[in-house]
Amino acid sequence: MNQTAVDQAFFIYFYLSLSILSIAVIVSKNIIHSAFFLLIFLLHVAAVFLFLNSEFLMVIQIIVYVGGVLALFVFAIMVMNIKEELKHRRFVRFAGAGILVSLLFFAVFYGFVKNVKVSSNPPPPNDVNLLGSLLYSYYLLPFEILSVVLLIALVAGIIIARKSPREEK
């Protein structure tokens, strides 16, 4: 009977912790600390996906983001070898204007989000087989295009990050 109360409590916990973690990503002085806060943030987002009854997305979130993207960030921080981060200025000069514009944006956004109604269908079945068959039948063309995009991004990342020949000699 207390199912909704437990849901509410967990949702409030995730709301507060996600907000605090994303603010901590922004305000932390050390970039490595930002990367670790981003790690905890991504794991919490995976838990929110689990609340929304989509387990496959949770697994993909952990594998791709935590295992791939975050490792890429940490590698980039290590390769660039940033040392002077402890006493440099973190924010741009017009940071106050940026916060003001963002809060205006949030006000408009809240006006849209406040009373959204969806048709009350039953929630979709928690079925990975259905997701896979949908990906390989109806969404086959976007899936293949996405594979080409990933290949191009891989090759482009290698080519851009390569040392330029002018620099080598």
Partner: protein, 98 residues
């Protein structure tokens, strides 16, 4: 209940937007982009769950793959920029031809 998930999504998107606007370090700006991607993914998954439609999860998959490729290319660009000019702050990039 969907309103609460959308409010969560809007809050995270706004925080990521603030970070993207006001931070100077290019890597933290890319991290804020990831926060914004995650906010949009939460919104997709919430619509998929409460609308009773399976399509949202498929699009979250596409969006995650695009975010991965975006992070790869963005970090490569930042790395090339740091190698070429030694600058890793967004307001110090004042030359176009290096």
């Amino acid at each position: 209940m969907i309103n609460e998930y959308l409010l969560l999504s809007a809050t995270l998107f706004t925080i990521g937007f603030i970070g993207f606007l006001i931070r100077r370090d290019l890597i933290v700006m890319l991290m804020c982009l990831e926060i914004m991607f995650n906010a949009v993914n939460i919104s997709f998954a919430a619509f998929s769950y409460y609308g009773g439609n399976f399509i949202g999860q498929v699009f979250v998959l596409f969006s995650i793959a695009l975010a991965a490729s975006e992070a790869a290319v963005g970090l490569a660009i930042v790395l090339a920029l740091v190698r070429a000019t030694g600058v890793n702050h967004s307001d110090e990039i004042i030359r176009l031809r290096g």
